[in-house]
Symmetry: C2
Subunit: 155 residues, 2 copies
């Protein structure tokens, strides 16, 4: 798994973090892409939102059943966004504020400081918008998602 | 990069494929997860849509500037969904039709047959919905995205 850069954020420990970008609306961070890949960032600043793919580098084990932050019941790990998944790949959609050289400023970051970056993709509504969806076990309101913070269960 | 299974689809060659799930609305496929991870699929069938993360295993090189299928101009690869990106990780949102044991039936698949699967995540509107977004260079309509097919430029 090739890291292409590093993610800087205000969150230096796993506890008390926002559990999703929507819980981190005000949190700003910096994506530092390795200079060898800088040219690949051209044209990205025309997009308002980007996907970040990254490695949950503090996840030191895999569990197939987890109790997610937004639930009290054990769930199959692939039906959650838990870091303890096989492969330990994380996905967040953040707002892109701007680019300078090999650095991107983003808002709404729910990612631990110093997280290895795996990929950046543009969010493209024509491709990615899901008009009607159904969310299995998760019955939380957006308000609850915004308020919820992590604890130590995945550390 | 650990593969956790394999993606089966009707698309056995890279040319003439849908370029995004929205262009593959009718195409059905099967996600076969390694039996050792089967239990991790529990509770997933309550979700209508899932993210598939996978390896563009036919991408044998990296290019920092590409001409995307929906454009005529060279663009930084991270502002596109091209397979030639560093790391070669692909992302698609597909509709989940059902699960049987270690297999998932999905619809709207734009992925090459025999593609190695890296991760499955539930699409959760409370986390993932982007209400207003702006898409840089891409000015295509949804109609154009639906009609467009791949050619040999990334092979």
């Amino acid at each position: 798994m090739q890291s292409i850069g590093i993610i800087r954020s205000p969150f230096t420990e796993l506890a008390n973090m926002p559990i999703q970008p929507k819980g981190a609306a005000g949190a700003e961070g910096t994506i530092i892409v390795d200079p060898q890949f800088e040219r690949g960032l051209d044209d990205l600043d025309g997009f308002s939102h980007i996907y970040l793919l990254y490695l949950f580098h503090k996840a030191d084990r895999t569990e197939l059943t987890v109790v997610p932050f937004m639930d009290d019941s054990p769930r199959g790990v692939f039906s959650t966004r838990s870091p303890l998944r096989p492969g330990h790949i994380g996905l967040s959609i953040v707002e892109l504020l701007g680019r300078q050289g090999n650095e991107l400023k983003v808002r709404g970051i729910d990612i631990l400081d110093q997280t290895p970056l795996l990929d950046i993709k543009p969010y493209i509504a024509e491709f990615d918008e899901v008009k009607e969806s159904r969310s299995g076990w998760l019955c939380a309101s957006e308000e609850e998602v915004r308020k919820k913070r992590s604890d130590r269960r995945f550390t």
